[in-house]
Symmetry: C2
């Protein structure tokens, strides 16, 4: 008899039929004697429908009112799911973020959870009820409705699990777990039974869309065992766990992540003076543009080349910013390329194994793939390559690191 | 500088364009220096959309969850209207029933308002903001979302006006006021500048669909001046007021109401024994059927005929109930007719004028319309006639009582 917090996303509750399937699944857990708290998103399409109503009214909607608006999406789902559970003879009660009291700060549309009051939830569980919670939403000190931003329902679920000391937080999605890489690119990709939080963080931040990075961080911080599994297919999914938990020896590499959404920019011939980097990146960050990789080589002839990557959508804006920076700094030129891709190998095992990076470079060289940038961390090595080589690179690395099925 | 509570129904906020028009109207009041609290319904169609989702899940939805579900409709509207006001440079803030704290009892789907906390609203008004309130909804002592039942937004508006001691509660609808009778039936019907609460109550309960009877009762109880006016056409509408307010002499008859939704049933040859009436109506009320008019004549030959009317939808059910009642009582027969209509003349003036009823009967007789039942109160006379004569009767009475334009 365990306590599970189960989260079902928009696709999983996208129609009344699917809500019925979710109710069936929850009931089967209840029938086994487990306690269940369910966190749900808005039905797929609903949030966009609401946002487009707002967009028809104003280009600059008040964030407070936007939260009042979009939080109705989850509220619809909790009511419908509670009804579907009742229909199956399963006692259940719905709660909005306000009713639970998921207390957040007042940063509308991107609020952070400060505290969760679990008294009411625990009473309902004791009374034998399934507790159905609206994800993505909370309430601030003054009683204003807030939302946690896109993907916030995952965070709601993890936070509920942490507050309730749940045995497991189960995130149901449309994939059946975390894979060694995207199965649409590599046929031989396989589902991981386990992955560490650190690896998952790297995988998530590098473009594996399975889990929101924020919820993984949250789960890591509060040591909530997290499991990703499919709403539609039976299976054990992937357990995201702590390094120490694993009894098996770690494989060197757990997975290969990639990202096509980047562009790279280089400032050529930057005078090698103190503060040059901040004079370059200051204006970029002032324009609210996030920078991913940054590479600068040792200076030759008192000048250096400074390269960094940004989201591809920001490419043209950054170009403009850099033109004036270049003038200002007396740099030679600005160069850019938005037909690039980033490929990363991730694994806690590489800490104790030398030669992982060189094995990666060898595998790419064997396919004649030129490496444009390199960046490393304790548990990952990332390279930037020409976008056209992306699939080839991922497949080659998947084979080289013995990840193929 | 007055304080107005303005209520806009579903049709008035049925699209983003119409929400824009409502915002324009509110802004024009603000520009004149008035304080405005707006109460809105769900966008037309939205409540039915939500109910049909629930219906696809279960035939017996939990009333608590139904309230969680449908209350999202008004929540969407308050957010959109607040945005539209902002867009027009008009400061505004939305409130759900819970946020205001419109405290109700726990009778889900038909809750009654117990108390309204106006502190927050008054602060916002003082700060120069329009307060946008979700109608139709409240919250019970335990924090459960409740709804007031169909038409509850009118009641929310009147209750807000009472709690705030507003100068006027303005109900915007798709008609431009209260008419002497339905203009679709009588071309010469005219808008009333004023009508008393008592008359309005009789008009509303007799089938004039302009205002929910409950909100009129509420307004009368708390002496809230109520005005009905059009969202779409400029005009003063109709002020619903207290008898003493009127400086003019009251006309004898203010209006003619009618209702096609009734059916009549007669138990013929009921033994004239004490308790017969309750033995007839007891089972009817036990079957949750509401009875409207009741007529019983003095007994002859120790038997009497007992006639009453019910909503036409209940006709066949009541027939069944009466069959067994008739056997039980030893009555001769049960007769029924569901092709009837009720026509009523309403006016506080009739209190001081004799002969109003006979004038009514004369007017009907002149058109050869047979009267099937009669029932009177202090300010109205109702007759039941064959349905096919309805329009003719209403027009004849409208002329006879000098209501024609």
């Amino acid at each position: 008899m365990a306590l599970y917090v189960q989260k079902f996303g928009g696709t999983s509750v996208g129609s009344v039929e699917r809500i019925g399937l979710v109710a069936d699944k929850i009931k089967s857990f209840r029938d086994q004697g487990h306690d269940v708290v369910v966190v749900v998103s808005a039905m797929s399409g609903e949030t966009n429908r609401l946002l487009s109503l707002a967009a028809d009214i104003t280009k600059t909607p008040s964030p407070r009112e936007l939260d009042v608006l979009v939080s109705t999406g989850e509220q619809v789902t909790i009511a419908l799911l509670a009804m579907a559970l009742h229909e199956r003879g399963c006692e259940a009660k719905s709660f909005t973020g306000d009713q639970i009291r998921i207390l957040t700060d007042s940063a509308h549309t991107k609020a952070r959870i400060k505290e969760i009051d679990v008294d009411a939830v625990q009473q309902e569980l004791k009374a034998g009820r399934v507790v159905v919670v609206a994800g993505f939403q909370g309430v601030d000190e003054k009683g204003n409705t807030t939302t946690l931003g896109r993907g916030g329902s995952d965070t709601s679920a993890v936070a509920m699990a942490a507050a309730l000391s749940a045995d497991e937080c189960q995130i149901y999605t449309d994939v059946d777990g975390v894979y060694t890489t995207d199965p649409r690119v590599v046929e031989k990709a396989r589902r991981l039974e386990r992955i560490t939080f650190e690896e998952m963080l790297e995988m998530a931040s590098l473009g594996s869309k399975v889990l929101q990075i924020r919820s993984v961080e949250f789960a890591g911080k509060y040591k909530v065992p997290l499991r990703v599994l499919s709403s539609f297919v039976e299976g054990d999914g992937t357990l995201i766990t702590f390094e120490g938990d694993s009894k098996m020896e770690q494989p060197i590499i757990s997975g290969i992540a990639f990202n096509r959404d980047e562009a790279k920019l280089t400032l050529v011939g930057v005078p090698d003076i103190p503060g040059a980097a901040s004079r370059i990146l200051g204006p970029v960050s002032a324009a609210n543009i996030e920078v991913d990789m940054i590479v600068q080589n040792v200076a030759e002839d008192n000048t250096t080349d400074f390269t960094f990557t940004v989201h591809r959508n920001d490419y043209h804006r950054v170009m403009q910013v850099l033109q004036s920076v270049a003038e200002d700094l007396g740099a030679e030129a600005v160069r850019g390329d938005n037909a690039i891709a980033k490929v990363s190998i991730v694994g806690v095992g590489m800490r104790s194994h030398a030669g992982v990076a060189s094995k990666m470079f060898d595998a790419l060289a064997a396919e004649n793939i030129n490496i444009l940038m390199i960046s490393t961390s304790e548990i990952k090595v990332s390279v930037v390559i020409e976008e056209k080589y992306l699939e080839l690179a991922v497949r080659a690395l998947h084979t080289a690191f013995e990840l193929d099925v």
